[in-house]
Symmetry: C2
Subunit: 345 residues, 2 copies
């Protein structure tokens, strides 16, 4: 494989091929060295490609899969009964070396279960984690993990998340020694639950990571940290709360500007400013979470993603494939997670 | 005590009496039946009262306390060594029946430790919880607990939080059968950690509470729930994330409107609209968290609260005192937490 090849679960997500296909065409238009494999029911996909006059696009190939994983399907059910699903077939392409990464907007639980079964975790990693980006006031983003793959993470799990997060950020965001923080309910040493306190100890003793201490959830958006580590239950709440507040403020802003004729006129005049703000906090620009810790690259798009957002997730896959993230984690983890290295340091 | 009397830790918070005194005067001006007791160093407080021409205000009395609890002091240290602190003396006034409630903007950990020691928890309640309000798109607020008093809450703890939260909301917000939700990382039954799943079972079996199921963190702001129950670590992250995102969006809005002369002119024209929005999401309007489950009313103000925000916390104390929340919880909990009641239902 000379160019970067990404396998796309074309059937996944709330909108399926009506979003995944235009998004893929957008990515192909912007990345001349990228090839995409659309995985799904070719009887469904082919007509949509023709409608987009894209059936002759040489860098876009089809790969048939007869099944779909439903958004509310139990992961265990999908794992057992959907061996020819678009999600699983896309994952198989990664496993077989026919694609460098796969992207799906489908059922997160099923995606994680299938990824663990098909691709397996990297040596030294007990549990994969979900990592994604959050906006900050400085303009640069911060990456946080775990965002919901695990609940009740142990200190050792959190420590491994920190190592994996540091490797990803260092490679993808080009930050040589990313600042790693632990999400906590206070900045003082005495604060937090046992897992967090023990993880702080592990990270303090482990000099290969630039651990800079506890961070509270309001500081996520300040841009002081490069990687924020937490349990998946907590991270998922932080992620969803962020989305919820953004929706709330957007709605209040709209209400305030549609109160009467004068405010509506103001909204029209101010629309370029409001649009530029909307762009800065548009969740589409943060779409594409990585299932980190696997022997292959798996990117999860938000289920409700539209074209621009899904394209962003595919682009995350392209960058991670070009940087060969799993191999980097494997190398670093082998080095870093050696018992001797952790005892000596 | 015929009128409502509130004891104020006048020295607490980042700004001390320069905020607490003007806030108290504001509350007295708006609530003719309220009396306030300012607790703190009278040598400090008296001159500030004189400067505000308030030294003759008949509904404002002073109560001397020679010590202060520092914002970063260990709770155990404050408990042992600060027996004459403004925080503790204010709490004693509640304990002795000389005040109906107390309010402090001081160190949360110390306030909780002193409250548990001085006032004790209500019979049947194992751990007090912190409850406060969040804005929603519907315009009404929602109350959530626990926001950080406890980490690693058991299912029984979460169940008790649900009972206490329902009593508070029913009395203070005048909602006869408040909708109680459990914060989780998905709405499906299989989602979540063990504590949440077990709590769902307890609440489903307990018909005295209007339990309506799981809620995800983005739905906090939708106004579907009246009470949201979670562990204190998780709740604190949700609360702080909310604050952090609001600060981020405010800053981006300001940036967008100060890009050039034209946008600055727009900001000036649109300022009434932007101000009305600011008011809707102003954290000052949500200031004042209740330490719920104690034999007395304790309200915690944000440490950084300014006058308007601190006054809001005092007003929360007034309402809870008028509604006699601890007695209501005691009555309901005695009824509801009876083993027989829980077995039958």
């Amino acid at each position: 494989m000379s160019s970067t090849i990404i396998a796309i679960d074309a059937m996944g997500g709330d909108h399926g091929p009506s979003v995944t296909i235009p998004a893929c065409l957008q990515v192909l238009g912007q990345h001349p060295a990228v090839q995409l494999i659309l995985v799904g029911d070719t009887a469904v996909l082919q007509p949509i490609l023709i409608a987009h006059s894209a059936n002759k696009q040489p860098r876009l190939t089809l790969c048939h899969a007869s099944q779909c994983v439903a958004m509310d399907e139990l992961p265990s059910h999908a794992l057992r009964n959907k061996k020819d699903s678009s999600m699983r077939v896309a994952m198989n392409l990664v496993k077989e070396g026919k694609a460098h990464a796969c992207v799906s907007a489908g059922n997160t639980g099923a995606l994680m279960a299938i990824a663990r079964y098909v691709l397996k975790t990297l040596p030294g990693i007990d549990r994969p984690a979900i990592i994604s980006t959050f906006p900050t006031v400085t303009g640069k983003h911060v990456r946080m993990l775990d965002l919901g793959a695990n609940v009740d993470s142990s200190a050792e799990d959190l420590f491994q998340f920190a190592v994996m997060g540091a490797v990803l950020v260092s490679a993808v965001d080009n930050i040589p020694h990313p600042k790693v923080c632990l999400l906590n309910i206070g900045e003082e040493e005495m604060k937090g639950n046992e897992q967090v306190k023990q993880t702080a100890q592990l990270l303090t003793n482990f000099k290969a990571i630039n651990y800079t201490g506890y961070i509270e959830a309001d500081a996520i958006y300040r841009g002081d940290a490069d990687v924020i580590v937490c349990d998946g239950f907590v991270g998922n709440v932080a992620l969803k709360a962020t989305e919820g507040v953004a929706v709330l403020i957007k709605k209040l802003l709209k209400e305030a500007f549609s109160k009467n004729l004068l405010t509506r006129l103001l909204a029209w005049i101010a629309s370029p400013v409001l649009k530029s703000l909307g762009k800065r906090i548009d969740p589409a620009n943060y779409n594409g979470a990585t299932l980190l810790g696997l022997q292959g690259i798996v990117i999860k798009s938000h289920g409700s993603a539209r074209v621009h957002a899904f394209a962003h997730a595919v682009e995350e896959a392209v960058v991670e494939a070009e940087k060969n993230i799993p191999q980097r984690i494997r190398d670093e983890v082998e080095q870093w997670l050696k018992p001797s290295s952790r005892e000596i340091l």
